[in-house]
């Protein structure tokens, strides 16, 4: 049995916007999966359906065998979720926030205290345990949320854009926290529009574009799907016979092997264009599948 099974999930909002168009994928137990896509791709809509906050128009999502529509209370026993742009309550200390969340979930006082302390220690939040959350940085606040859901002991964790709006250092501190969380948690699904985040954290990626799943598989499979080792970005409109190209706004991209990079660079410079060479990454799979760079939608 999969930890998460999404089958042909559609969502049409009251204003006519279709956010999901038949989203199907499954996640095995113990995996950390990144749901990757631009803003508006449908990631948050899907995660809100899976975490029992929103009804789908059509299709089913099962969490550990329980249907999120017909059996939401069984699902809620098993999941914990960090909402997009969520924040812990400013007036509490990190300990009070995690401890109260655990009491609300049904833990006894001594067990809740123990779990809260362990989770905060794991995320290196011990020095701030008695500081009110309002005095903490954005990255520390996010870590408090990660500690909260981690302490829950829930078998499936949903994290919606856990590093949205954070600076690079704060993002890395949350990544460290999530790596620690991964050691303890059963299954994690996070949404992100940061390629590096998905590459750094996930065992598998699901690329969503305009409400559809474009790719689902391991990072290794994603890398293989790009076929080539290098990406040459030419900042202008360059056409070369015998080379496939992808045209983006103000840029032409070529996917090539090592030997061919020099030829393309020479031709680009001859035409007066700037050019750079990068090794291929998950972002290239995204560009190949969608014809767009992910950052342009951010």
């Amino acid at each position: 049995m999969s930890a998460i099974a999404s089958r042909d999930v559609w969502k049409r909002y009251g204003n006519g916007v279709v956010a999901l168009r038949g989203v199907s994928f499954s996640v095995e137990r113990g995996r950390l999966v990144a749901l990757l896509g631009r803003n508006g791709a449908g990631k948050t809509t899907w995660i809100r359906i899976a975490s029992t906050q929103l009804l789908p128009t059509k299709g089913t999502v099962e969490v550990l065998g329980f249907d999120v529509v017909s059996d939401p209370w069984s699902v809620r026993e098993l999941i914990a979720m960090i909402p997009q742009e969520g924040a812990p309550l400013d007036i509490l200390t990190p300990f009070e926030f995690v401890y109260s969340y655990l009491l609300i979930r049904g833990y006894g006082r001594s067990e809740a205290k123990k779990r809260a302390r362990e989770a905060l220690a794991l995320l290196e939040l011990e020095p701030y345990i008695k500081t009110t959350i309002g005095e903490l940085s954005g990255g520390l606040k996010r870590r408090v949320l990660v500690a909260t859901v981690l302490a829950s002991g829930a078998e499936v964790l949903f994290l919606d854009e856990p590093t949205l709006g954070l600076d690079p250092l704060a993002r890395r501190s949350v990544w460290r926290a999530l790596r620690e969380a991964k050691k303890m948690s059963g299954t994690m699904l996070l949404t992100t529009h940061y390629m590096d985040e998905a590459e750094s954290l996930a065992d598998e990626v699901i690329i969503v574009h305009q409400g559809k799943v474009m790719f689902s598989g391991s990072l290794e499979e994603a890398r293989k799907a790009t076929n080539h080792r290098f990406r040459v970005e030419v900042y202008g409109d360059l056409e070369i016979d015998g080379y496939d190209r992808i045209k983006l706004k103000g840029m032409t991209i070529f996917y090539v092997g090592e030997d061919e990079t020099e030829d393309i660079l020479k031709m680009a410079i001859a035409k007066g264009y700037d050019a750079t060479v990068k090794t291929t990454s998950l972002e290239d799979l995204f560009i190949k599948l969608t014809g767009e760079k992910i950052e342009e939608g951010v």
Partner: protein, 253 residues
């Protein structure tokens, strides 16, 4: 192995926990809120004690008690909207076994915690003026609970109508003033035209005040006004409980 409470005890602990963080801890760390909600009832009491007679002073003490219970109940509007729209605390809690009605009761109870210092002050004043007879105390307790519950349930329901926080704050202030000043909370319903005193009971605050004015012997109301007041308090309470049951759903369509 996770050892979790189940059923009623889990929900009861959740209600008390929410009222602890949203009421007790918030009150302890932001006590200025007490001063802010006490300003209006204390100002009115000051005004009536200087320019009014002893009856008006007692009416303003009853008015203060009702206004504190109501305005704190209504202020759930701001908290519920803040938790849902701004910090997404409600979303965090949806993905737990917490029942929506427990969440609302927890927030409502925290509003009562917030109101308690102000209520204590006005109850002491009422006691100093020898108003706290056994029958008055009993009726006051019932009226207080109904005003607090009606206004906090109403506040929560109203909060669900807004998706932008900046639109929520003024609504709480407007509702508080309308419910405390327009109905006969700070004036006796006997100044309303004869045969129309019942109109004062169309708001739950007016109904509670009219009952308390009558029980304390400050005024003599028409029977229709007394009956309307009782029916109004029970009716509003029932209406808001039913609306809550209908509206209090975690999941959006």
């Amino acid at each position: 192995m996770r050892r979790l409470r189940k059923g009623f005890s889990r929900q009861l602990i959740a209600i008390l926990t929410i009222s602890w963080i949203d009421g007790v801890l918030s009150l302890r760390r932001a006590p200025l809120w007490v001063v802010s909600y006490l300003l209006m009832p204390l100002a009115l009491l000051f005004f009536f004690s200087i320019y009014g007679n002893p009856i008006m002073m007692k009416i303003s003490i009853i008015g203060g008690i009702i206004m504190i219970a109501m305005s704190n109940g209504i202020s759930i509007l701001g908290d519920a909207a803040f938790y849902r729209i701004y910090v997404k605390y409600q979303d965090l809690l949806i993905a737990t076994p917490l029942r929506p009605i427990s969440y609302i009761l927890g927030l409502s109870l925290s509003m009562l915690v917030f109101a308690s210092p102000g209520l204590m002050l006005f109850l002491v004043l009422a006691w100093l003026l020898s108003m706290m007879t056994p029958s008055f105390t009993l009726i006051l307790a019932i009226c207080l609970i109904m005003v607090w519950a009606s206004s906090s349930f109403m506040g929560f329901i109203v909060s669900t109508l807004f998706n932008r926080l900046r639109h929520v704050w003024p609504v709480a202030s407007i509702l508080s003033l309308v419910l405390a000043i327009l109905p006969p909370v700070y004036y006796p319903a006997t100044i309303l035209p004869q045969g129309y005193q019942w109109i004062g009971a169309l708001a739950p605050t007016g109904a509670a005040a009219m009952i308390l004015h009558q029980v304390s012997g400050l005024i003599e109301l028409e029977t229709s006004a007394i009956m309307t007041s009782i029916a109004s308090l029970i009716g509003y309470m029932t209406l808001f409980v039913l609306l809550l049951i209908f509206r209090a759903r975690w999941r959006e369509g």
